[in-house]
Amino acid sequence: MALLEVSDLTMHYRTRSGWVQAVERVNLSLDRGAAIGLVGESGCGKTSLAMSLLKLLPSNAQIKEGQILFDGNDLVPLTEDQMRRYRWERISMVFQAAMNSLNPVYTVRDQIVEAIQYHMPMRYEEAWSRVAKLFEFVGLDPGVMNQYPHEYSGGMKQRAVIAMALACDPDIIIADEPTTALDVIVQDRILKRMDEIRSELNMAMIYISHDIAVIAEVSDRIGVMYAGKMMEMADVVTIFQKPLHPYTFALMSAFPSVRGEKHELVELPGEPPDLISPPKGCRFHPRCPQATAVCSEKAPEFTEVEPGHFCACWNPRSK
């Protein structure tokens, strides 16, 4: 039994112009200690999916169907009150633009202490020493914990936010673009530390990024999302060496690398669809170089093409 088992999760946003089909029948499973990476371009639903897992959704969002089995319990029907026991204590999150998720008028220590005390009955001094331990753990000097966020560099803020996510010993951390605003050297250090933390604590991670290179470095499995749907999922080596879905292939051929041979960058024509009225059939078919008649008629099922390799495509590139 996997730690997290998501099946057919569908989440839509209600807007003035109609329902935005942000997450559509997504399946994924995550074992203890594993790391899964979700890649996709902006608006592909990767952040919406993460927010649905924590049920941290705005009032106009609705989970239409599906299950989120965490440790065997379905989170979908839970009330806000019941959800609180899972949020942060079992599943925590490192938000996108973490720089801005720290409150500028409190010291970093106080903010983490508050997060701890909210979930665990603990005296202030106790929580305090816990923050110091967490700081050391994420590679920050505990001496800086009494400072205010604006005295931190971007990398330090990111580490502080990771410390906050670790505060209640969660089973899963969802990291949404954890290093996007950082310079490469800082990014490299933080990703390394997060990877070490995962193995030290046997914690599961969900990484979300638009950068397939970042995802490739820290994940065991990769899921590729497009227009609210999971297009392909496989272990990291398979997906890079044998991508089945034309979108996965296009994403990789458009991605430049500093190392290795300088391959021609392939341009993918068109733009991602409007999710209020997504294309009929496969959502990728208007931009797909391999589309056939059936693609515009029926949406392909997300099926296991070979052991551990899932793909939703009528014409996968090669078995």
């Binding site: 946003y13 807007t15 003035r16 106009n60």
Partner: protein, 320 residues
């Protein structure tokens, strides 16, 4: 890549497209304005009073005898036997005041003048504030400091006392009051608000882009900063109208203004002749209630229009 470099543009098609997109923008904004619900109500009120006051000169020219219906010198001899003020009758739907003058005529005459005063004061003031705010924000440094200190002075300016002194020295007309108020708004609070908006615009990359393109300071202020401040200016103009009309009413009530007739003066007349006391307030309601209601309605009208515009101007208020 399509090679169309040498293809001639279809100018007629372009014009049509421009018109279509322009009207579509208008339509979209109108829909937002209507969607605010409060906006159209305000617009209705404002339009009603514009028509209300515009119909006065027509009545005077066509049906009404100026000797009876002039707001200041009119007097109805048919009502001689009974004393003035007179309660509403068919010929005087809102009655007459203590001197026998038709109150409805006074209202129609005054609301026109008050609307004009409000619009001139607010329009000129906000135009001034837009320029002052944009210039102060754009040049910064000493220019900014100068205008902001001027704004501080304007905000601390004892303008009521000044007006009292001024009215003793000379006759303060409505136009003078409008100019006075325009200067107060133009260099005072509104200019500070619009300056902060201009400061946000000034640091946008499109200002740098214009600079790279060789645009002069004038060009940048005029075609990049002012257009982005203007929607907010327009919003504040609506709120300023309200302020100007209230001020006029208050000053006229205190007797500091040299005007023939105004909404404030109607109430002042009722007051000085002793009709705003105790039970007489209810008996002689027509002496103060209509004028008070007109002031409140006009102000509410402009305020509501402002609130409706807020919906159009501030995208953050829009729900998706």
């Amino acid at each position: 890549m399509v090679d169309t470099a040498s293809q001639q543009v279809d100018r007629a098609a372009m014009r049509r497209e421009r018109w279509r997109l322009f009207t579509r923008t208008l339509r979209d904004n109108w829909r937002l304005f209507v969607g605010s619900k409060i906006g159209p109500i305000g617009l209705g009120i404002v339009i009603f009073f514009v028509l209300f006051s515009a119909s006065y000169p027509i009545f005077m020219a066509v049906t009404h005898n100026p000797r009876i219906y002039d707001p200041v010198t009119g007097f109805d001899y048919d009502l001689m036997p009974t004393s003035n003020p007179h309660p509403p009758t068919w010929s005087h739907p809102l009655g007459t005041d203590v001197y026998g003058r038709d109150i409805l005529s006074q209202l129609m005459y005054s609301s026109g003048h008050d609307l004009l005063l409000g619009l001139i004061a607010a329009g000129a003031g906000v135009l001034l504030a837009t320029l002052v705010g944009s210039i102060a924000a754009f040049y910064g440094g000493i220019v900014d400091m100068f205008f902001m200190r001027v704004a501080d002075i304007m905000m601390l300016f004892p303008f009521l006392a000044t007006l009292v002194a001024l009215s003793a020295l000379m006759n303060v007309s409505l136009l003078m009051l409008a100019i006075f108020l325009a200067i107060l708004t133009g260099f005072g609070t509104t200019s500070i608000i619009l300056r902060s908006q201009a400061l946000q615009v000034k640091v946008k990359p499109f200002v740098e882009a214009a600079r790279v393109s060789g645009g002069s300071n004038f060009h940048i202020i005029w075609s990049h900063i002012v257009p982005n401040v203007l929607p907010l200016s327009f919003l504040y103009m609506m709120f300023s109208v309200t302020g100007a009309i209230f001020t006029e009413a208050a000053l006229a009530f205190l007797g500091f203004l040299n005007v023939r007739m105004s909404l404030g003066i109607i109430i002042q007349n009722a007051n000085t002749s002793g009709y705003l006391i105790g039970t007489r307030l209810a008996t002689y309601w027509y002496m103060w209630l209509p004028a008070g209601a007109v002031i409140s309605l006009i102000c509410a009208g402009f305020y509501f229009v402002g609130r409706g515009l807020d919906e159009v101007v501030n995208p953050r208020l829009r729900e998706r």
